[in-house]
Amino acid sequence: MSVAADLGYSKNEIMIAASARGLAGAKNCFVGVGLPNIVCNLAQRTVAPDLQLVYESGVFGARPERLPLSIGDPTLVSGSTAVTSMFELFAYYLQAGLIDVAFLGGAQIDRFGNLNTTVIGDYAKPKVRLPGSGGACEIAIHARQILVIMRQAPRSFVEKLHFRTSPGHSGDPEHDRARGWWGSGPTSVVTDLGTYGFDEATGEMTLLTLHPGVTLDQVRESMGWDPRVSPDLGQTPAPTQDELRLIRDELDPDGTYTK
């Protein structure tokens, strides 16, 4: 049952609203499907009117006439401003540092924002074989900013990853991202319980706000390490009526992603 049920919005809705606010002022955004797609479209209509949606499939300036079912939905192509090959997308855009912000998630995340989308268990004979990197490894390295959206639980917020698919922060300021990477790594994590930033010095995930009705104990119970908590821990602003209207009426009328 949803901790926020009695507050008039769903867990996904506050995750979407909180994430969208994180896009304020952003320009070129690498978009996936599902939640990130809704988040970007909400941000475009609220805090980031200049947001350019760049789809991993190689589409720019998409104007989908329907909610895309995949990053390769034909509705993204018709009426877009440009289509490019995968080579050019990854080489000329992502590796060249043109992508300001991107979304990542995974089966496991550690305190430094490293992500596992490869295996649960042993690589050679895994308990669960996950999709693998896709573009995540390059996105984590080159996108200027990385926003992570994940529901949190002890099995997903872990002390030690089973596999590091895409790099977060190393925890070593001397070494960290010191090899001409464009990206500054994960900058925020939004979960169903709160929002996190990353400590400048140590690169460690730091709880910044709790969602309305959520307690610090609930957060602690839902992760595999004792989280760093910001001295001025605050509360996540609830989704506004305007945000909820946009999400429910325009962006996901069937509630596919937001129920």
């Binding site: 992502l94 490894c137 390295i141």
Partner: protein
């Protein structure tokens, strides 16, 4: 030059051999399921299958036992979930293990580019602090010979024995035109030893010659041209038909159990002789329902210089 037009059966029989490395590419768009079905039907074995995003067609092929190895960068049923048949082979070695060699998307793309360019390696800024190189010794590092001495990762060329490329239209010589998502179709075709082009329609050379910039793959690298409408179902062909999302969802159920998986293969692949049978079996209404309204590109003027 004589026409390269042939049937899917002949193209696969002649060009796809047991033990080959085969790439059926297409990033969500123009994924040639019909070629995969024919390869299953002809019971090819010990293939190494390469593809950036192994999805339902590779779940079908790998579950059917045509492959011993998979080279990829993202494994799943896009927008739906897992590939159950592939997972059974990787997680449970059921019915047998599947060797895997994995990269990131950019790594796979650059392997094709290196293969297409006859380069011994291709440099990319990736894999830093990732465990991927720890499980894939083909990913190595090099240091720039210039003052910056930047360390980069390198990947080796990928040269499929056969690449299958679907496109909207092609000539009988194999000049293939694609619009919409391009994926790495061109790179995978140029990298391959043999190329099968599968098109929605074979068109006159004059159609292609009116818009030469639209040609993605020139006939010079193409061995066979197969005209096969809806060859990409349940994937899509921009402007011709939509993605059959219901099928992707249904596949998640079908593939969960070996029994239902086998039953589907028997009904929809082994018991049918050609993709035409598949189309007929699914019914004309279904195909009608997948056709979009037109959205024309407009024309440009190349000018006549006589």
């Amino acid at each position: 030059m004589g026409s390269k037009v042939t049937t899917m059966r002949e193209a696969v029989a002649e060009l796809v051999r047991d033990g080959d490395t085969v790439a059926i590419e297409g990033f969500t768009h123009l994924i040639c399921f019909a070629a995969g079905h024919e390869i299953i039907r002809q019971r090819r074995r010990d293939l190494t299958l390469a593809r950036m995003t192994p999805d339902v067609i590779y779940d079908q092929m790998i579950g059917a036992g045509v492959a011993r190895k998979l080279i990829f960068s993202w494994l799943g049923n896009p927008g739906v979930g897992s590939l159950h048949a592939v997972r059974r082979r990787i997680e449970d070695h059921d019915p047998e293990p599947l060797e895997i060699e994995e990269y990131s998307h950019f790594g796979m793309v650059c392997r094709y580019v290196a293969g297409a360019s006859n380069l011994p390696f291709f440099p990319i800024r990736s894999y830093y602090e990732s465990d991927i190189p720890n499980v894939n010794p083909n990913i190595r590092t090099m240091v720039s010979p210039y003052e910056d001495a930047t360390e980069v990762a390198v990947v080796p060329p990928l040269r499929p024995d056969v690449t299958v490329v679907a496109c909207q239209r092609a000539t009988q010589d194999g000049d293939a035109q694609i619009w919409g998502l391009l994926g790495c179709q061109k790179e995978a075709a140029f990298a391959a030893e043999r190329v099968i082009v599968v098109c929605e329609e074979v068109v006159e050379g004059s159609v292609v010659r009116r818009d030469p910039n639209r040609t993605i793959i020139p006939g010079v690298v193409v061995d066979a041209v197969v005209e096969q409408p809806f060859s990409c179902h349940p994937s899509f062909a921009q402007g011709y038909y939509d993605r059959d999302n219901a099928f992707y969802l249904k596949w998640d159920q079908i593939a969960r159990e070996p029994e239902t998986f086998e039953a589907w293969l028997k009904e929809w692949v082994y018991d049918l002789e050609t993709h035409a049978d598949y189309l007929e079996k699914m019914g004309a209404d279904h195909w009608e329902s997948l056709k979009p309204e037109p959205a024309m590109s407009g024309e440009v003027d190349y000018g006549r210089y006589a």
